[in-house]
Subunit: 144 residues, 4 copies
């Protein structure tokens, strides 16, 4: 599926709006960098998440993984798209790309060339990539 | 607060039941060890989570952290209790203690001596400990 | 083995000194909290580690885990003791306890009641606990 | 720097050999998938690592991160290349790509377009990519 087709099939502005609405609950007292994500599952349901930090930094979780973990806990096993917004102090002024850990977590529940990763500043200003764009030659279940 | 008081204040059997109900969505294709958790926040709301594994094992998340991350994303900042059930193949035959990572994550959102950690086999057969019992001399926000 | 016996069998001041010597290489640009650890393996070898942070906070690693991972990579499978020093700006003014993640990682390579966890301010000022003290009722290999 | 130039500047076969030599110490009792890495730092030193798993899967560490954490603990702050070998049961029959977490950790200590990632079957059979190839549009220190 190409990205133009993806952009037609997925209501990207609506997904970005969902991420923006979730942002207020980001818990980022250590970095001050607030992130939210809205994940669209194949079922049509949307799951949101925020970053949740920890005094022991490596126990933190990013927004995308938070949304993915919740979706999986609700029985979802196939993801269609994820919208991501983030910025220092919760001000969204640039596209915030997902970190490598989040790319790896999303990888488990999709065909990388079919998952749309939407990084956004607003519902009108966003970029669409695939997970294959962002995590080429990925390590996945087929290696084990 | 002592544990007898905790057991009176918290409806432990109901929380264990919520964890047991969530267990069916555990995603554990690599370990075959299925775990679910139900987290009671100070607001009175209950949040459930399951373990969600990943082909790159360290990208996995446990049930307790899944529930905690979702609760935080819903705006909760203070946890009261968590019930945990788990076992190989989803058969619950013994108390499954939380791993050290999950203890650390719970630590962020409670006074360790006030958080009830309920490990259970069934709504009738469970054990109540505090997080302080399970993670004494913890590393927390006050160190930073 | 009781802690007095441990303190006689292990050269705690020497292990603390090794941790203090390693501290200069801590990479903590985000937290400013510098930590180092020195791990004594059953072989008699000492392995040091420091915390190494990452812009995506959850990709960070603590000092204790860094030392443990390196020891395991060198073929060690049984740990005897670990000394930990840490503080904001690299100034060591209080005992810095290991986080829950590190307790879990150490758990894999010891009998918790036999591993000495030494938190120190200096070679003369330290505290000895066991991993069992710090991670009671732990989740370990026997559950899988 | 293009990849042909990289391949001339870096002794890839030697780095792959170092990774292969380290493989015997991989601790992978849960996945049975053994991985080793050899990391070349700007100083010219080579650091090796293996995957070290944990009963709580998410407390595991990959080989690449193990090598990176040790290099940083030895004072390295700039990485030049990493060679990776891995396979089920320690049999190396295909290129094993780094997971997303490892790509993120390597990102901290390099210009992604300058770090050579060498995935190998043997010193004679390997592939050279850059970290920018494997983690485009990465999240790094400049975002914070």
């Amino acid at each position: 599926m190409d990205k133009e087709q993806m952009s037609r099939d997925i209501d990207c502005p609506a997904l970005v709006s969902r991420a923006l609405s979730a942002l207020k609950n980001s818990y980022a007292p250590y970095s001050g960098f607030h992130v939210a994500a809205a994940l669209l599952a194949e079922s049509g349901e949307v799951y949101t998440g925020v970053n949740v930090e920890n005094a022991s930094y490596s126990a933190s979780i990013c927004a995308e993984r938070n949304a993915a973990a919740h979706a999986a806990a609700c029985g979802e096993r196939r993801f269609t798209a994820v919208a991501i917004v983030g910025g220092a102090g919760g001000r969204i002024t640039a596209y915030c790309p997902p970190c490598g850990i989040c790319r790896q977590v999303l990888r488990e529940f999709c065909d990388p060339s079919e998952l749309a990763v939407i990084t956004a500043v607003s519902p009108e200003d966003y970029r669409v990539q695939t997970l294959a764009d962002l995590l080429p030659d990925s390590f996945g279940p087929e290696y084990l």
